[in-house]
């Protein structure tokens, strides 16, 4: 059962990283333009024009 002392905080810490990442995506405006972001990936930025 001693392993719980390590695993339980570790799993919570991992989940906190996930929550932090969500907070970052929200702060950096990544939900402002879902359609545009889905399309931008298709645009070839390196193409010489």
């Amino acid at each position: 059962m001693a392993i719980l002392m390590f695993l339980a905080p570790a799993s919570v810490a991992l989940a906190l990283v996930g929550l932090g990442a969500f907070w970052w995506t929200l702060r950096s405006g990544q939900y402002e333009d879902p359609m545009g972001d889905a399309s931008r990936i298709l645009v070839d930025q390196d193409r010489p024009d």
């Binding site: 919570v12 989940a15 929550l19 402002e32 333009d33 359609m35 545009g36």
Partner: protein, 723 residues
Amino acid sequence: MALTASDRQDFSAFLRPTEGGGRSIELLVKGARCAACLSKIEREVRTLPAVESARLNLTTGKLSVGFAAGAGDPSLVLERLDRLGYPATLYDPGKAAAARDAEGRRLTLALGVAAFGAGNAMMFSVPIWAGLFGQELGPATRTMMMWLSAVIGAPCAVYAGMPFFESAWRSLRSGRANMDVPISIGVILTLAISFVETVLRGRDAYFDAAVSLLFLLLIGRWLDHRLRASARSAAADLLAMQAPAATLLAEDGTERRIPLSEIASGDLLIVRPGERIPVDAVITAGVSELDNSLLTGETTPARVVPGEPCQAGAMNLGGVLRLRATARSEDSAVAAIARLVEAGTQSRSKYVRLADKAAALYVPVVHTAAALTFVGGWGLGLGPREALLRAVAVLIITCPCALGLAVPAVQVTASARLFRRGVLVKSGAALERLAEVDHVVFDKTGVLTEGRPQLIDPVPAAIAMAAPLAKASAHPLSKALAAHAGPTLLADDIVETAGQGVEGVIGGRRARLGRAAFVGVAGVPASETELWFGIEGDTKVRFVFADQLRADAAQTIAALKARGLSVEILSGDIPGAVGRAAESAGVADWRASLAPADKARLMAERTAQGRKVLMVGDGLNDAAALAGAHAAMAPGTALDASQNAADLVFSGEKLAAVVEALDVARSARSRALENFSFAALYNMVAAPAAMIGLVNPFVAALAMSGSSLVVTLNALRTGVGRR
């Protein structure tokens, strides 16, 4: 009115300074839908001189362009976009700044925190649940799991519950209880009891249930917010299409574009053909015709000369007008109607939404049941701790998920469906009211009819003769005539006399197109619905115009009647025109020559008779009636006051949107009612089970997510299977 780049206007009213010393401008781009459009638009705009950045938001259709300091010409951007095939409009900076959605972000973050809390508190609840079913779990380990669950769940519940707690507190302070009061009581009581159980090394802790309850409720709250926010921004986009600026003539003779709000009484303004009169004013120079159809419903243009007053909202059809403003934008004739609108909107805000009606029934019943469980349990010898646990179980298991989630989910689905068909729904309550209507009132001009003149009985030979002149004029009658002509050369030496007609040379002979007197026909009364054409010394030809019904008007009215609704026309136009339109649309009930106040009064009369009226109108003369009606729709071409007063706005040429909206609203209403019945049924089973102690934390978690899933899936059926 879309601003066009051709007349080289001054766009300083729309430019905003940026941090780097440059300036930026926001444009609303129409028709950009794909990755190719996006890269084409951004690449092309970036190649323009002085443009430093261009970024298109594909979701909202807004392009923001950054210019280098002291340089850059927005009209070049507009021109380039127009050439690429994406007509663009300038976006009012005030509206763009207001678009930052702080509340939406806060809800999204609360949703994220609740999701995190629900998932992780449940991770520690699973071993506890295993213990409930006789698996090996020592009391010490169980208590440790409960503490871990508390440490994760409680802070998350407090943060995610804030929107509900705050709203509950606000409503309590104003002396009323809304839906958030029982939610807050339930969550706070649950957390408190769970802590006590954890400290006392008991068996039942509901931390995971409290957080997941908030998570499910926040989904409903978030959907509702999204619906209102997207409707608000779409409505703002529609309004941005109309003249948000006016041309001011400064004392030194220079012209400058200024926002409407900056016009002062006494300012000199210039209004070009095709623009709307920005404020109430007196004409100081220029002769023209004004289209008052959005103000009064009258289709016949009115001729104006210097010295005459004109009203805000009228469209200038003929020559360039110089005006002296007699009122500010807020004090213009529009404002008088806006006050009527406000009065009507207030009466409508008394409407009680479906979820609130259900909540009024639900709250007393559930709270009485919980109180009875506690008192009864204690009285029957359960002991206060067990009795309180059962009472809390009742509160949790009868959570108002169906009320908090079912209705927003249905309304978001319904609005998305209507949006794809070109109908904008401004709020969920609008759909609920629309589903209840039993009487439809139409305005004539611009709603049943197309709102612009069409040539009657076209004679191809005559049209071909007049076309070289008709194509040279921007007057609506000329345009209607030109629409019937094939490609042709323009006449030479064209001179247009405002309010009279056009003159030019066709094949070496002088010809005129315009009023009877201008063309040289004597003894014919001047008429605003006909054009005369004559070549010097030759016979004169007459063209007659009328405002035609929309192609599907009769069909739409038949469809409405088939759905058991009565139909009526209330119009400000003259009786002859209204009667003809009513007859061909198949409406027996009509009234003409009505003033705006008459329409609002008739609307109030219908309401007093117990009718639930849907008003479909576009003009300023309809705005008060729109606000006073039970539900209101306006076409996208309507003036902003009318669009503000309407619940739903439909774009496109088809009147059938009214029938579609009605069908979807009715479908949404039955889905919502089904969800309520399901919730009632579920509570009838779950509440007694909780009372007799059959509910433990595991059952509570299962029942709650299960019932929420069922109502959400049912919501997705909204409008399916109808065409």
